[in-house]
């Protein structure tokens, strides 16, 4: 409880310092709007329908990118960890592709998919894919081989049975933490993926920045923080339920 009070106090001090910085004229209000301007701006964005429209658009390609990147990343990571030859064959390819930032794929996204939701989802999915790929790979490799032997000794010999009875449940904590990290990575990429003209929060922020409407930019920055916070809370709730067997 005391920790929460400190947190609240810190937040109030931060907002006051920000407000004073602008009110004192140390920072020009056209370069940084004060926090007091945010509620009215948010109300205006909502009443004009922009806020809902941008959130829906961003959420759409974020969700598609998240689903695609997470699914492919987990499937690829688990598969590679299961088959040593596959693992060896992909090692150099992964080393070459992994360091390329998702945004470096923008030219290809435009060439392949045009300026479209698909292009944004593609870019979002790339960063999420690699996080899930590596965490799923590490989680499966870390499964205690003794548990697999127990399952085999009790008749679960096929690969499908071993996956079902041991490998996937045992690696679930690692896989889920990868998916959670991907949730955050996705929100970091979503704005950048929209900067080249795809409807969404990023595009609205760029429009507002061009008009020096920094209060609108801040509204959407806070919106991203809110959306990330809500999605993270929802995911952690599900994660805790799935992993309720952990101490």
């Amino acid at each position: 409880m005391r920790r929460h009070l400190y947190g609240l106090a810190g937040l109030i001090v931060f907002l006051l310092a920000w407000e004073l910085l602008v009110a004192s004229g140390l920072v020009v209000s056209s370069l940084l709007s004060p926090p007091s301007s945010i509620p009215a701006t948010l109300a205006s964005e909502i009443s004009l329908g922009f806020w809902q429209k941008m959130i829906l658009a961003s959420l759409t390609h974020y969700s598609v990118g998240l689903l695609l990147g997470s699914t492919l990343g987990v499937v690829a990571g688990v598969s590679v960890a299961l088959f040593p030859r596959f693992d060896a064959a992909q090692a150099w390819v992964a080393r070459v592709l992994r360091p390329i930032p998702p945004l470096a794929w923008i030219p290809f996204a435009i060439i392949w998919f045009g300026i479209s939701e698909t292009a944004a989802a593609f870019i979002i999915s790339i960063g999420i894919f690699w996080i899930n790929y590596f965490t799923a790979h590490a989680a499966v490799r870390a499964v205690n081989p003794d548990l697999i032997e127990v399952a085999v000794s009790f008749g679960h010999k096929s690969l499908f049975r071993r996956l079902q009875k041991v490998i996937l449940p045992a690696s679930a904590p690692g896989i889920l933490s990868g998916i959670r990290a991907g949730l955050g990575q996705g929100w970091m990429t979503v704005v950048a993926a929209e900067l080249f003209g795809i409807t969404g929060i990023g595009q609205r922020m760029m429009e507002a920045a061009g008009l020096l409407a920094t209060q609108v930019v801040i509204v959407y920055m806070l919106t991203i923080a809110l959306l990330y916070g809500l999605s993270d809370i929802a995911f952690v709730t599900i994660q805790n339920r799935v992993l309720r067997w952990q101490r």
């Binding site: 127990v150 009790f154 449940p169 992993l243």
Partner: protein
């Protein structure tokens, strides 16, 4: 007496190894019998058990099982040195692990789980998680998991070696009660000479390099047995002498 499993000339050589881990192993386990394999470290006791369980094919020799597996029964079930319970499964679901591949009705599964938990006296622990159990309780659940599949032969790989002395002795007595109640055949490997003498009807000594059966004897002491009797001490000396002898000639205790 009918043999449940018979090994003839069984040899195992691991890939890349110059010599076998053990060779020419002959023994059998009869119906209802409690057979012990006591051996030196590295003699391949656990490997031998895996061969009997069908988890490892021998390099040479044959394993004949009188009870063939079907979709409704397994001929043997294993109890491991560490219980290795699945931490994401409750106690009840851990006990159910071996039943999930069998073509049994739900009622039959529930009956077997309840019976197995009752045998190890942990009926009220079904909804607990493995991390909520003590080491001894975890090992009893490992035993219940094996009992639930109602195998003809229980294979036990030093199941009590990781436990403290008091818990170990309590579980030895509990195992003897379960054995008497169920009539299962048991093949039990251990490096603990006193445990071998206290539990076994027949004892095989595995030693040397490559390991082989260096001695075997029937332990005819009446049950319930006392620990530390003159007869038990004499048998312990015989085991020590035999295993030390092969150790002196290239084995390893």
């Amino acid at each position: 007496m009918a043999a449940i499993v018979t090994l003839k000339g069984v040899t195992v050589t691991f890939p890349g190894a110059e010599s076998p881990i053990f060779s020419g192993i002959d023994f059998s386990v009869n119906k209802g019998e409690f057979v012990i394999i006591v051996g030196t470290s590295g003699a391949g006791k656990s490997t031998l058990l895996r061969v009997v369980a069908g988890l490892l094919e021998p390099t040479a020799g044959t394993v004949h099982r009188a009870i063939e597996e079907s979709d409704r029964r397994r001929s043997s079930a294993m109890v491991f040195q560490e219980a290795h319970l699945m931490p994401w499964r409750t106690v009840r679901d851990n006990v159910a692990l071996g039943l999930e591949g069998l073509n049994l009705s739900e009622e039959e599964c529930e009956r077997r789980i309840a019976d197995a938990l009752a045998l190890v006296r942990l009926s009220e622990y079904g909804t607990r998680w493995p991390h909520e159990l003590s080491g001894g309780q975890r090992q009893r659940i490992g035993l219940a998991r094996a009992l639930a599949v109602e195998p003809e032969l229980l294979l036990m790989d030093e199941p009590f070696s990781a436990l403290d002395a008091i818990t170990r002795q309590a579980l030895q007595d509990e195992l003897l009660s379960i054995w008497a109640a169920t009539g299962k055949s048991i093949l039990f490997v251990t490096h603990d000479i006193d445990e071998a003498i206290y539990l076994g009807d027949r004892v095989y000594l595995l030693g040397g390099s490559p390991a082989r059966i260096v001695d075997s004897f029937a332990n005819t002491a009446a049950r319930p047995r006392q620990r530390g009797t003159a007869d038990a001490t004499a048998l312990a000396t015989r085991i020590k002498d035999n295993l030390s002898g092969v150790h002196d000639h290239g084995g390893g205790i």
